[in-house]
């Protein structure tokens, strides 16, 4: 199969969604943002994690599957509609184990910027701000970050920490400043590869080789000297079953697969 044929079989956005979905474990309680996180969680519900609970930042708790276009509302009914304050209390009290978020920039230590690129008062670009991002990464036991990779987005240090990762990488710092123990970013999934954290620093775990991505490409789009995992692998491509469910059931209009790899962050209505 040529590179081109591979690319037509599935896109990088689809790989991101599928890789994210696979992070969800059977009984996870998942704090999902709008867009890619929602699609990934829904895909997990249709595949290996039917019992996971999805909690949206505007305050919806449900175990049911739901159509994407009703994801932020409750035309498909919820188990509980307690509102934004309540679901964040659930998170703050430690009852939401898995978080999901998108990013404008990420740095070596997993700090995330969704506020402003460049100077805060004279930004080169303004994103919409934290939304639930700061809450997710502050409170959830582990947080899965999805982001389109580029040198301008993968920085030694983000311009603005909207959502704290491991700060300057010194161990124990999150706890010292008052963040709950055993929290923080755990996995970063880009359009090029998958990263974990080693002592608070990003570590390349797998490359989307099946999509033709090379180590050179990965490194070219990171502005620091990235650590490589000793057991670096190829990212496991989507199965036919995953692609089928994603395309036909979860996101038939392919809105979110496209959005996953686009430079903008997902929008909220």
């Amino acid at each position: 199969m040529t590179q081109k044929e591979k690319e037509t079989r599935y896109s990088a956005g689809e790989q991101m969604i599928v890789s994210a979905a696979r992070q969800i474990v059977k009984d996870d309680i998942v704090y999902v943002g709008v867009g890619v996180p929602m699609v990934a969680t829904l895909l997990a519900k249709y595949t290996h994690a039917p019992d996971c609970v999805t909690i949206t930042e505007n305050g919806i708790v449900r175990v049911t599957k739901f159509p994407m276009d009703e994801s932020t509302d409750v035309q498909t009914l919820a188990d509980q509609l307690p509102g934004m304050f309540y679901v964040n209390c659930l998170a703050q009290a430690g009852y939401i184990n898995t978080g999901f978020l998108g990013a404008g920039q990420i740095d070596r230590y997993g700090n995330i910027n969704t506020t402003a690129a460049g100077d805060f008062y004279k930004p080169e670009h303004r994103w919409n701000g934290s939304g639930g991002g700061n809450d997710v990464i502050s409170f959830c036991h582990r947080t899965i970050v999805t982001i389109r990779q580029s040198r301008r987005r993968f920085l030694e240090k983000v311009d603005f920490i909207t959502s704290p990762g491991y700060l300057d990488g010194r161990p124990g710092q999150r706890e010292e400043i008052g963040l709950p123990p055993n929290t923080g970013p755990s996995i970063v999934i880009s359009n090029l590869g998958v990263y974990a954290f080693d002592n608070g620093e990003m570590l390349l775990k797998s490359i989307h080789s099946d999509l033709g991505v090379t180590m050179e490409q990965v490194k070219a789009e990171i502005s620091w000297d990235i650590k490589i995992a000793p057991d670096l692998t190829d990212t496991e491509p989507p199965t036919e079953e995953e692609l089928h469910l994603l395309r036909e059931v979860v996101d038939p209009q392919k809105i979110f697969a496209r959005r996953a790899e686009s430079p903008g962050l997902q929008q909220q209505s």
Partner: protein, 303 residues
């Protein structure tokens, strides 16, 4: 019992003042559109606006907003006509930024009547550097660090609910965002209700009341009061999209046409609805009505 029913025009002119901090209810559900349109129509300016997932684009575009107090808001004025318009006339608001939880907490502290509330979030973020209402303090019991978020007490809240009685006891269902926190934090509350019901309906389900009548300043009967937002149990979002597009900002043409025709060009929301119907067809709103309504299992009370 005190009857607080009035028109939206009266309610807004009586209770929303230039310079007020305004809480806007609704978060991806049931935005109080009729009330927001009336505030624009009355050109009440120098507002601080507290909104969560409800973008008051018309207010900003018309230059009425000095400050946005929020956790998430479009600020890229190159990408939005009304934001660009505000910028051009030097009326682009200052943004006071929190996370979603942060703004919920600020409102919750207001609702509780305390000056601040602790949280384990916002720590390590750069938000406290630019928002002086977020600080790190020591917990007096554990000795550890904790963030403190200062209370926000809006002068006035606007919210749209499914049902209320004439005294102001309001009941809302569906996703509720920060509605409960926001209205309970606010000094004055304007409730627009899809339907006015007898107090008997309220009292047969008092657990559903989100604010008691005595805390409400004005009650307005306003069918389609949240449209083109969705209102759980009543209508879906504007399927035609023209209203949504215009309110979200659209481009210069759609935005300015909409303002001229549907904000300044009508005297109130009822006229607005009639005008939309006359242009878009008599069944425009009907198309948004629920196709598959579902009823709750009633609860029983009594003696």
């Amino acid at each position: 019992m005190s009857n607080k029913l009035m028109t939206l025009k009266e309610a807004v002119s009586k209770y929303v003042k230039s310079g007020d901090t305004l809480f806007v209810g609704g978060a991806q559900h049931a935005t109080p559109q009729a009330a927001l349109h009336e505030i624009v129509r009355q050109k009440i300016d120098h507002l601080g606006v507290v909104a969560v997932l409800a973008q008051p684009t018309l207010l900003i575009g018309e230059g009425l907003v000095d400050k946005m107090i929020t956790g998430y808001a479009a600020q890229d004025y190159t990408a939005s006509y009304p934001l660009g318009k505000a910028k051009a006339m030097n009326r682009f608001p200052v943004y006071e930024e929190y996370s979603h939880f942060g703004i919920s907490l600020a409102l919750f502290a207001g609702y509780m009547g305390i000056p601040f509330i602790p949280t384990k979030g916002h720590l390590g973020s750069d938000m406290p550097k630019y928002n002086k209402n977020i600080k790190s303090i020591d917990c007096p019991f554990t000795g550890g660090k904790v963030a403190a978020i200062k209370a926000v007490v809006p002068d006035v809240a606007v919210i749209h609910v499914q049902r209320a009685d004439a005294e102001g006891n309001a009941q809302k269902w569906g996703s509720i965002g920060v509605d409960v926190e926001g209205i309970n934090a606010s000094r004055k509350v304007i409730v627009t209700a899809e339907t006015i019901v007898s107090s008997d309906v309220i009292r047969r389900d008092p657990n559903r009341t989100i604010i008691p009548g005595f805390r409400v300043s004005a009650v307005v009967e306003q069918p389609w009061g949240a449209f083109p937002s969705r209102l759980a149990g009543f209508y879906n979002a504007d399927r035609g999209g023209f209203m949504r597009v215009a309110i979200a900002g659209g481009n210069e043409q759609t935005y300015e046409d909409y303002l001229r025709d549907f904000v300044y060009g009508v005297k109130d929301w009822n006229e607005y609805i009639e005008k939309v119907k006359s242009i878009k067809g008599a069944d425009y709103f009907d198309k948004a009505r629920l196709k598959n309504p579902v009823k709750s299992e009633p609860i029983i009370t009594g003696s």
